[in-house]
Symmetry: C3
Subunit: 321 residues, 3 copies
């Protein structure tokens, strides 16, 4: 769990093996799991989507973990994968949004996934004032800056996609076919790592389930909540079926029942409410970032989770883990 | 006053009567008044503008107050109306910006005005670090997310108004007629609840005066300050006459002399300075939110008041109430 | 150094002389130097760029310093110039972006550079929670609000430049000539005060060197870092040669090695990393502010420096000054 405590690996392991386990845990921590097995399944899912995405995700997690060690960051945190997961997302995100085949993308990934360790330390201190974790905010910050800045930097951009545009009201079909519905259910897991394929999403769900049953159940509940809210409010079916409206709801539901809030009937309701809010926020973020050419990433999850976790001490029906 | 203290109602009242008083106080707290009488006058003003706006304002305040009780939030806070006022604004705001005649607007109001209780708790904890209240920030957040997200959600939007557009330099007449001038003076009170009619604004002013003379005087001073600054800087007359340039100044002036800062000659000057700053910030916010289809709401008031209240401990000429 | 400590002037000086020294220190504190001599050189550089810019910079610093005294702000802070530097930048910035020849610009400068003292006090309290200084954030806030709000205020704007526009991908030459290269190196110092001329930048560098050798060396290193990153990533040569891509890197490099972080080999590397990050963030900010007609100012420096300084306590390789 991406709290600011963790368990260091057993001293019996060799150094490279220990580092590998830390990197795998880093990949798993994207979904809050401090489990190397889960991380290995996640990595397989990335490779299933494209070998370059797998390599970039691994590279980002490894660079961030190594940087954290070099800077002397608390071993327990690094050992639990808590300084690697933002790097993993940066690697994958840079590959997806800047193109994996450019040398510039490779070098920027090295820089970005080192830098994110500093950003994480800063945000951990600031949000720590209210006992709130940083979630994926460090990744969101670094990748937003890179992708928003890139069109002005010819040798980072190479004419990639994602131009700025004023938001326009939704149009097109909003009714989901059965196939689009179950694709959406699984896509909601995959889009956390930017991957739209249903089978990649299924692999991520399997990875979570191997590490923690409750987390997998809450992930499913979050996915259904995001899907139902998106359909009821009339979000265009095309995006919904690719998981673009539900991935934030998945993360929020896990965070608010089990990971950061103690499981209870109240916290299940809290998680559903948060997942619904994150779904509307996803639509709002899509409009907000459009004019300057940004992307929504997991900002809706981060902002929802920060508020809902910060509020817990004022709400007697709930308590923190 | 929307500080994090309040007076619980007398135990002699019946439960429904006590709840009604809490809801009315919630409506009054939009303008910082912990007075059920003031809330009743405000509610009458909303009904005078349109019966649906009255119903939505009442609904929002009632749902938020009931949610706060269900979550077990501190009774003193809820009793003083401090968990109802953001709900009241959300109900009225959703009715104005999403259209009051849709079932979706009704359901979203139920959800939004429950949710805002969580957002308020979180922000109260975070801003409490600096002894700063949350003002209407919870309402601004929830309503901004809903209105910015709505155009991407066909069944919430129904082709409503308020499309995204790049800001353009002001044009059109800036000189106010006498009628526009006094309409603006009263409109500045009504626009706090999104209502442009001068007589609705007058009713709000009467409500404030019934609860607190100083607050009414500062509200008038804020309205005049906003009006003078807008005219001197050349804001288009049409918007000024509807109160769109001065409602933030009204709230800032009340907050900075009497409500959160102890009254004195220095705090009157402080309030005038803050009201002037909030007026320029209103113009800036109009430009800022244009490209993504947002609305200014009371963000300029919130941001100005957070900074001006937070600064007080460093300024020996002023002290907090 | 803009930390919240300072040295008050010796009591032997006459009051006007003491005030003049405080104002000059205020001008110098834009680049972290608590030195009246440095401030005098900076002021000469502003006059070299245009006599009105010099007057406006002096006016802003003087009004802010006087306001701080009137409000009773801590003498040690004001004496070290720490309540004047944001005013200096506001005066110069308003002159550049609203036009120096209008009465409105003069009056708005009086108001803005008084107001910024309140904003600075508020932010000093809030960021003080994490022992982080406010940098030029107060200036960035006030000047952003003014320039974004101005196009909607006909009598503040007078049809000035800087209209809103969606960001477009970079085009045009990215290879720098030798002349553009050394112009960029010096322009990076001048653009901190919005001045593009190489000789004005050189004068600022001389001013820094007179006050502190290490700071001058780090400023040069920051300028080179910004230049190299901008060229490698393919930023259009025209902007680079005017210093528009490197002025944030200069400030970050000074802040992260010597001013707020104790000098060491690690902090030099930290400063280079931060300067590189600030350069990419500069490009991102240019895109972000475009649609609403904003300007980048020193926001990239402020945000980078806040995070990098806040992170220091978690990084055993570094320590604060």
């Amino acid at each position: 769990m991406p709290q600011e405590v963790g368990t260091s690996s057993a001293p019996a392991e060799s150094r490279p093996a220990r580092f590998l386990l830390e990197v795998l845990r880093g990949i798993a921590q994207v979904d809050f799991m401090p489990s190397a097995l889960c991380g290995a399944v996640f990595l397989a899912a990335l490779f299933a989507s494209g070998w370059r995405y797998g390599l970039y995700g691994l590279l980002g997690a490894a660079v961030a973990t190594a940087t954290a060690h070099a800077l002397g960051i608390d071993h327990a945190l690094v050992g639990a994968g808590l300084r690697g997961f933002n790097g993993c997302l940066i690697g994958t995100g840079f590959a997806v949004f800047l193109g994996p085949a450019h040398l510039s993308t490779f070098l920027l990934t090295l820089f970005g996934s080192s830098l994110v360790v500093v950003v994480t330390s800063a945000l951990a201190i600031m949000l720590g004032t209210w006992n709130v974790p940083t979630f994926t905010m460090p990744f969101c910050l670094v990748t937003s800056v890179m992708t928003v800045g890139a069109p002005g930097l010819e040798k980072a951009w190479h004419g990639a996609h994602g131009l700025a545009a004023l938001p326009v009201p939704a149009s097109g079909a909003t009714a989901l076919s059965w196939q689009q519905t179950w694709h959406a259910f699984f896509g909601n897991f995959g889009q956390i790592f930017f991957m739209p394929q249903w089978y990649v999403g299924l692999m991520f769900l399997v990875g979570i389930a191997l590490a923690n049953r409750l987390a997998a159940a809450m992930a499913c509940l979050g996915s259904v909540t995001g899907l139902v809210v998106a359909v009821l409010l009339g979000s265009p079916a095309e995006g919904v079926s690719q998981g673009l409206m539900g991935y934030n709801a998945v993360l929020v539901a896990m965070a608010l029942c089990g990971v950061f809030v103690a499981p209870s009937a109240w916290s299940v309701a809290y998680a559903i409410g948060g997942a619904g809010a994150a779904t509307v926020l996803t639509s709002a973020f899509d409009s907000f970032v459009g004019p300057f050419g940004g992307h929504t990433f997991t900002w809706p999850f981060v902002l929802t989770a920060v508020l809902f976790v910060a509020a817990v001490p004022s709400i007697p029906r709930l308590r923190r883990t």
